[in-house]
């Protein structure tokens, strides 16, 4: 295997921060899903729509951060 490419330390820190943020958002989303299911099964349908919107927003944030981390990863290999 070839020698590892030199990487900018700052790039790696930013990428790792983005990954940590994605993981944190994921924990929030897991809680949101379980709480929404609980409310739905209890017959409280009012929270279902806002929860779905928030979950979609969290997914978009994760997607954005993931693209950002991927681009940073690519850049740091140059």
């Amino acid at each position: 295997m070839a020698e590892p490419a030199p990487r900018h330390k700052n790039d790696l820190v930013v990428i790792d921060a983005a990954l940590a943020l994605i993981a944190t958002l994921l924990v929030v989303q897991m809680w949101l899903l379980s709480a929404t299911l609980e409310a739905y099964l209890s017959g409280h349908d009012r929270v279902v729509l806002p929860a779905a919107v928030v979950s979609a927003v969290i997914f978009l944030a994760c997607l954005g951060l993931s693209l950002f981390a991927g681009r940073g990863d690519e850049r740091s290999r140059l």
Partner: protein, 168 residues
């Protein structure tokens, strides 16, 4: 071998199919981010599915079914019946001379059948020691996450008639 080792300049296909077996276990940050994002998508789809289910679920028209005759059940006694379909077991309790309550008999924890304990005056689940108030079906103790759905009762002449279900 560290999971966080420095990646090489090799093309992706060579990283995916390396010569050394242990190199296969290496996960790049990009792959990890992709995995987390797909998990996030899965949960967003889950929330969307719940939303669609809540839109599809229309308030169904409950039938009116006679479940017992007045005086048929002794004070502190119970009668089992099914409502609104033959697959939904319910329990009727006569709590006082002129007071009747009825609930779904399915525990909201893991669907065991609850029974009325005259000693404690609670609806109890024998599986995990959950107990519900006989007054309103609320959870008093144990693992059940939700109250028992209540059967709406009406008195029509000498009959007790179930006319609907209420979730707390």
């Amino acid at each position: 071998m560290s999971v966080w080792r420095q990646p090489s300049r090799d093309p992706l296909w060579r990283e995916e199919f390396p010569v050394h077996t242990e190199d296969e276990r290496y996960v790049t940050r990009r792959q990890f981010a992709k995995f987390l994002t797909l998990t996030s998508l899965g949960m967003a789809v889950g929330n969307g599915w719940i939303l669609v289910r809540s839109w599809i679920r229309r308030p169904s028209a409950y039938p009116s079914v006679s479940v017992a005759r007045i005086g048929e059940v002794a004070v502190g006694g119970v009668k089992l019946f099914t409502y609104p379909t033959p697959n939904d077991p319910c329990i009727l309790v006569r709590t006082a001379e002129d007071a009747y309550v009825a609930y779904s008999q399915v525990c909201t924890h893991l669907s065991c059948a609850v029974y009325f304990s005259a000693k404690t005056r609670r609806l109890e689940c024998p599986c995990h020691n959950g107990s519900f108030s006989v007054a309103d079906g609320s959870v008093i103790a144990g693992p059940p996450p939700r109250p028992l759905p209540k059967v709406v009762l009406e008195r029509r002449g000498a009959d007790l008639v179930a006319t609907g279900m209420e979730s707390a």
